[in-house]
């Protein structure tokens, strides 16, 4: 049982480096929360504050109904998996996994039972007598997971646990970690800079930048309704395209305009923007939100010249020049476009994103400017 609450938490390192600023976050019991953001945005710092490895400079950190600001790590009932795995190099795999239990004076038979149980689940039973230096990266990863699992902690913390693995292993381990969460029934807080990992694993994603939370929400929510251009750009690969332009209102219809391009906006947006013709905005179009089909006179569309064609097995990516901007889109593989050829693609109105040009804030979000 553990609900973790940050109340206006700021973390300042020596030399006035503000790593985390005014963080408000509630992580529910048994939830899988992913802290996502670029390197240096304060993810590890946030995780280390939960672990008790870093002190909270200002604000309050709660575990359930208790303030834990000054509680040392070993009294917090947390277990942690490090990016470097941090296995004790001179101890056997067995002793590495058992160490946390030994420190807590768990009975020897119980330790043995739990270690063998975890090793069996992680399929490393045959490695128990080896040293970490005799293991592959993937095996070390499993030992690190095992060391955390046997503790049966209330909170399971992971700091970029997969980033030292090769691509294929990384993807298969995602599924295992998801299983682990289901099996263990505890709160998971997981740090990564890999948006695909976050989208796959999380119940909720916390997107951070420069020590400040940008958005909190379910993966679909964050992907479909990013609150600002940072979030929109950080999630999705290849990333979202932006076209700078202005809002035009004529005869009750509201549209986005850039040069000769005009895109009629859906009613929800139109209602918000009716009063501000001439406003400078960014139109956000995700690469997959275009279609070669359904082109009618009324559907919003985008015209451009094919610049590059990149076939990638299942799909085909096109680099387009649209009104002087580079736009990258995904089309089905039946599309046979040649470089230099003009194309016209339909846009899905509900999937368009419009951001204020100056602030980068989404004009779709609640409380938008």
């Amino acid at each position: 049982m553990a609900r973790i609450t940050f109340k206006a938490v700021t973390k300042r390192y020596a030399g006035d480096v503000v790593a985390v600023r005014d963080l408000d976050l509630e992580i529910f019991d048994k939830e899988f929360v992913v802290l996502l953001g670029p390197s240096g945005c304060g993810k590890s710092t946030t995780l280390n504050m939960i672990a008790g490895l870093e002190e909270v400079t200002e604000g309050e950190l709660w575990f359930d109904d208790e303030i834990v600001n000054t509680l040392p790590p070993h009294r917090r009932d947390v277990a942690m998996v490090f990016q470097s795995y941090a296995l004790y190099p001179h101890k056997s795999v067995y002793e590495n996994i058992a160490f946390g239990l030994r420190m807590r004076r768990v009975a020897a038979e119980e330790i043995d039972r739990r270690v063998r149980d975890a090793a069996a689940k992680l399929e490393i039973s045959h490695l128990l007598q080896r040293r970490p230096s005799q293991l592959s990266g993937g095996q070390r990863q499993r030992v690190a997971l095992g060391r955390a699992m046997v503790r049966q902690p209330a909170v399971f913390l992971m700091d970029e646990p997969l980033s030292n693995l090769d691509a294929a292993l990384r993807i298969s381990m995602r599924a295992e970690i998801k299983h682990l969460h289901t099996a263990m029934q505890t709160t998971f807080v997981y740090v990564t800079h890999d948006q695909a990992e976050a989208l796959t694993l999380a119940d909720r994603i916390v997107v951070m930048n420069d020590g400040v939370i940008q958005q909190i929400g379910a993966p679909d929510d964050i992907y479909e309704r990013p609150r600002n251009t940072f979030v929109a750009s950080f999630l999705g690969n290849p990333p979202i395209n932006y076209l700078d332009g202005t809002i035009e209102g004529a005869d009750g219809a509201v549209s986005f305009r850039r040069g000769g391009m005009r895109v009629a906006l859906p009613p929800a947006l139109a209602a918000r923007l009716r009063g501000s013709p001439g406003r400078e905005v960014k139109l956000g179009i995700r690469p997959e939100d275009v279609s070669r089909h359904g082109l009618g006179a009324e559907t919003p569309a985008m015209e451009g010249i094919v610049d590059t064609v990149l076939p990638v097995g299942s799909d085909r990516f096109l680099g387009l020049k649209v009104e002087g901007c580079d736009v990258f889109v995904r089309v089905d593989k039946q599309a046979h476009h040649r470089e230099g050829e003009p194309v016209r693609l339909a846009l899905v109105p509900e999937r368009l994103h419009v951001f204020d040009k100056a602030s980068g804030l989404s004009l779709l979000a609640d409380g938008a400017p």
Partner: protein, 305 residues
Amino acid sequence: MTAITSLPRRAARFGGPTYDERNALVLIAPLATVLFAVAVFPILYSFYISLYGLKLTRPHRVPFVGLENYVTVLTDPQFWEAVGRTAAFSVMSVAAVAVIALLAALLLNEEFPGRRVLSAVLLVPWAIPYVANALMWKWIYDSNYGALNGLLYQLDFINSYMVWLGDADKTLALIANAFVWKEVPLAVILLLVGLKTIPADLYAAAKVDGANALQRFLHVTLPALKSSFALVIVYETMMAIRHFDLFFILTEGGPGDASHVVAWRIYVETFRNLNFGLGAAMSYILALATLALAYAVIRALAQRI
């Protein structure tokens, strides 16, 4: 690719060394010559001497005596007394160096104001030559105007100046003290290097695992220091067993034979009694003993790394 490059090499094998091999030999030759002259030759030559009855007091007669010099040394009870003193001196010195250096290294591995200054100061003894160090301690221990007497007298620990090095019970310990002072800095550096290689994550992991400061030291720091520690102990043991300068300058083996260690005995036998054959035999015994000891210590400490 491989076929092409291997062709000339195979052809060359029939005609002696290749161009590369010849070049390598030419480049190695100067250093090999120097090494042979200053290291290999003396080692071989001193072994050769140890098999003869070479005494400069009767230089015209140098009989071949085989291993007789070795037998003489090993059956001489005075030699074994010297061995006992060398062992006592070495154990005292190495133990003190190891403990003090470990504490100092642990201290200097922490962040605190003045750490850099303290590190610099700690290195001073290292920079002092052995002979200068010995002369400095001779002055400190001096019975008439020594700093130790002055300090203890002013602090009222002693009522009158003491002849420190004249006390047979204290001599070895006082010489060991001077030796330790000189040797600690290098040991600190070796241990500090070992400490710096321990990843911070290991301490974080141990904290989360519930280890307290002492347990973190025992389970993370100490095992990681094992190889540095082995190095310190082997190196310092070798230095202590063979140490000569302090015995020469501070006591000349005295008072009586209280500091008559093996290294001093070799000097006396060779350069005072001018019995080169016996001196060489003793040197060889000391060298072999040092090697054997170093090997044993390395095996014992580094076996499970």
